[in-house]
């Protein structure tokens, strides 16, 4: 079935982004609500999210989405007004509704009907809501006992005598359209309008009835004659959803006012101040500058001369009640007071202003910007090299000095520009973390486990490209922890642990890198089980198993095809995943480490670069080819004499601080004909991946350089041991080494 929504292409991204924000907020807060049941702020926020979603769905004509959001909103409204209670069943239903809303939201883009059972959802909400309805009625009645706002400066001696004065009264009648949503409010508007023209009598419905917010279809009121009929007609015509207005002598013929006809009176801008509580008048009286009586007189005059649009202040001056100076200072004083009264709001608003100045832009645009900055960095690096050459050859030359300074300045500016662009691309990792409370809740409910999820450092920012890549690995780690790590409450109690397990998710910056940890206080990983399992599956031989330290054994979990859990579950499956988790993290130049203590818990630590677009590297050379090794991977560099290199089982090694370090000749790996082995000395870059270290032998170390990553694209495709390329400052191309791939290639790992 083809669906049609009232939304244009340019509105689409806003709609999708905003609805996603609200759905995410609902997900997150609903889970928190379950813990912090009566948090009013949370209740308000979650209600607003549902309410706003409903409004947006309505605007594009998505009726099914409106139905679900309406049911959700009603339930949340019940919660915030204490008519409903937070319990797991209701939260479950709300979360189910949020899931349904996600699918309904997708319909807007796909134009395809999803299989959300809207009726079933709304019916189940009704059951919850109906249970609270008896209370609702009584509450509504209680609320309606609010006092009437009085029009303070209304002169006491109304009505004014402008027309013929016979004591006959007029009947004002009006009908309120029966599809009006808040007909009582319309009736209230009618009442207010009529009250401006005199003392209202015999009003139907009564003011009390109107204020109870009960629906009103007919309005009727009596007013003593003497008021300006045309002005009242006009005033009433401003009220929407009102028809068949008549103003007629009580015993006479009704005068039907044509809809839309403007009354013949001259008070075109009928907002004359006297109709409103005039703050200035009150202020002057309160300050003792004029008397209440003087105010009344002025107001009266203002009313009788209403066509002239006289200002109250000027009238008071003309009538000699107050001097211009006094009036001016009173006005200033009044404004000051009003400012103060909203200053608190303004203070709050200043914080808000930042978000107000936001611009939404597409990721593609940021990527393009980043590419341009990348080009600029390449040119900057080139300029540096040219400058250095000029400096050596023509030192002291005034032009060269000037050029040199300019190049240095451009360099600084480029650095700043890069930093700014990077900052724009930064997103708090909370964008990923926020999904996890829901995930952990659902998983632990399925498994009958009790788990506290603690999230720290959610404001830690990292590049958008990294954020996109880290989501799946994290989900996997969390599933593993919940499923295999944390024990059932019974098991925990038996092991002398608190019944509730804790899953801790943290993120922080450290030396230009991001460190993310996933830590549980569960059962830990049993090295013996891993060893047995790996042998049984033929991943390693028994002999290898015996020689492996516990630490190295645990690392085997990152091999594909290994599972130690007794039974597979639909949550984390069997043995697939950890290898993919590591591969995904390594693909973005990250590393993952595992640390586990049997019976106490497991911690995974992920180290990520801040961005993928620009990588700090160590440039090395093998014959004529430049290679760039990501600095994240580099532990140290060494200079070795041939005698330092020995061979163990055909594997070249060296001794580094009493530990054996396997060596790998880059020339061998990439089949470059080089004379590395016959040289007097060798340069070695010690790199680490996980807990393994290896020395990469190269011809020369060129130095550190930030390089802009260029992917090979589909034409060249994947090259084992090389992740991508970079253009260097001198225009040459350097190949960026994929250390993990390299280790695999060399067969050392």
């Amino acid at each position: 079935m083809e669906l049609v929504f009232d939304i244009s292409q340019d509105e689409m991204p806003i709609f999708m982004a905003e609805t996603e924000d609200h759905l995410q907020a609902l997900d997150e807060i609903l889970v928190r609500l379950e813990q912090e049941k009566n948090d009013q702020d949370l209740l308000q926020t979650v209600f607003r999210a549902a309410h706003t979603l409903k409004g947006m769905a309505g605007m594009i004509g998505h009726k099914r989405m409106v139905s679900v959001t309406h049911a959700l909103e009603t339930a949340l409204d019940g919660l915030r007004k204490n008519k409903l209670e937070v319990d797991s069943a209701l939260i479950d239903l709300c979360l189910e509704a949020v899931d349904g809303l996600r699918l309904l939201r997708e319909e807007v883009i796909n134009n395809e009907l999803s299989d959300v059972e809207v009726d079933s959802l709304t019916e189940r909400f009704m059951i919850f809501i109906q249970s609270s309805q008896a209370d609702t009625l009584s509450l509504n009645l209680a609320q309606s006992k609010q006092p009437l706002p009085t029009l303070k400066t209304q002169p006491e001696n109304q009505p004014t005598q402008t027309g013929n004065d016979d004591s006959e009264s007029y009947v004002i009648r009006a009908e309120i359209e029966n599809n009006s949503v808040a007909s009582a409010a319309r009736a209230f508007q009618l009442m207010m309008a009529v009250q401006m023209f005199g003392e209202v009598k015999n009003m139907k419905p009564s003011q009390e009835a109107i204020e109870s917010a009960a629906p009103v279809s007919h309005f009727e009121a009596e007013l003593d004659s003497g008021f300006d009929v045309a002005a009242l007609e006009k005033e009433l015509s401003f009220i929407s959803e009102v028809k068949n207005i008549t103003i007629s002598p009580k015993n006479g013929k009704p005068q039907i006012q044509e809809p839309g006809s403007t009354a013949s009176s001259t008070n075109a801008g009928s907002d004359s101040e006297y109709k409103e509580p005039t703050q200035l008048g009150d202020h002057l009286v309160n300050m003792g500058i004029i008397s209440r009586q003087q105010l009344s007189q002025a107001l009266q005059l203002q009313k009788t001369e209403e066509g002239k649009n006289l200002l109250l202040g000027q009238l008071l001056v003309q009538m000699g009640f107050v001097s211009q100076n006094k009036l001016d200072s009173a006005v200033v004083d009044l404004i000051k007071k009003q400012r103060e009264s909203v200053s608190q709001a303004a203070r709050k608003q200043r914080l808000e202003q930042r978000s107000d100045m936001m611009v939404r832009t597409s990721v593609e645009r940021l990527d393009r910007l980043m590419n341009l900055v990348g080009e600029l960095i390449t040119d900057r690096n080139h300029l540096y090299q040219v400058r250095n050459r000029l400096d050596t050859n023509g030192h002291g030359n005034e032009y060269i000095n000037q050029l040199s300074e300019t190049v240095a300045h451009i360099g600084r500016i480029t650095d700043q520009l890069q930093e700014e662009v990077m900052r724009i691309r930064m997103l708090p990792i909370g964008n990923v973390f926020h999904k996890f409370p829901r995930l952990v809740r659902d998983l632990s409910q399925n498994l009958n486990k009790k788990i506290d999820l603690v999230i720290e450092g959610e404001d830690t920012e990292l590049d958008r490209s990294v954020i996109d890549e880290i989501n799946d690995p994290l989900i996997h780690l969390i599933r593993n922890s919940v499923d295999h790590g944390i024990e059932t409450p019974q098991e925990r109690l038996a092991a002398g642990k608190p019944e509730k397990g804790t899953l801790r998710l943290t993120a922080r910056h450290e030396q230009g890198r991001i460190i993310i940890t996933v830590e549980d206080d569960g059962n830990g990983i049993d090295a013996k089980k891993i060893r047995d399992s790996a042998v049984a599956k033929g991943l390693i031989t028994e002999a290898e198993a015996l020689s492996l330290s516990d630490e190295k054994t645990i690392d085997l979990i990152f091999l594909s095809g290994l599972s130690t859990s007794k039974k597979a579950t639909d949550i984390s499956g069997r043995g697939v995943g950890m290898d993919i988790v590591r591969a995904n993290i390594q693909r973005i130049n990250g590393t993952i480490l595992v640390d586990t203590k049997l019976g106490q818990g497991t911690q995974f630590q992920i180290v990520l670069p801040l961005t993928l677009a620009i990588v700090p590297t160590l440039l090395v050379k093998v014959k004529n080819t430049s290679f760039a090794i990501p600095l994240v991977m580099v532990a140290e560099t060494l200079r070795l004499e041939p005698k330092d290199i020995q061979t163990i089982r055909q594997q070249p090694v060296t001794r580094l601080r009493n530990q054996v370090l396997p060596l790998m000749y880059l020339s061998d790996v990439f089949k470059i004909e080089a004379d590395q082995r016959t040289k007097n000395h060798h340069y070695v870059v010690v790199v680490h991946s996980g807990k393994s270290r290896i020395g990469v032998v190269v011809d020369a170390l060129l130095g550190e350089e930030e390089v802009v990553v260029k992917s090979f694209g589909s034409l060249i495709g994947d090259i084992p041991g090389i992740s991508s390329a970079a253009i260097l400052g001198d225009g040459h191309v350097a190949l960026i080494v994929d250390i993990v791939g390299l280790l695999k290639l060399s067969g050392i790992h």
């Binding site: 004509g61 808040a182 009220i239 909203v342 709001a345 608003q349």
Partner: protein, 118 residues
Amino acid sequence: MTKILIVDDAEFLRVRISKMLSGDGFDVIQAENGARAVEMYKENSPDLVLMDITMPEMDGLTALKHIRGYDASAKVIMLTALGQESVVLEAIKSGARDFIVKPFEHERVINAIRKLVA
């Protein structure tokens, strides 16, 4: 040109109403919550305000009271949704000149505005 301040926390709605009104020759400014609306009212003295009721930071009802406190002749139309009858009544009592129920059609909005800023 008639200046209209649109207040709604949903950017989607602000954009939609803005487009609607700009097309009809109105000068449109926007605020995303009540607090900002009060501030912008003072800075720009718009001829009319279209304001949502349910918003974070400061809701529409509170903002309405602030705006009316600052300018007793302020013309504010509330944007509301089904189920907010009592709030609407409260808004009218507090000086709102009209209210429009979401979802609304173009014509409904324009009519309400023209009634107040003839």
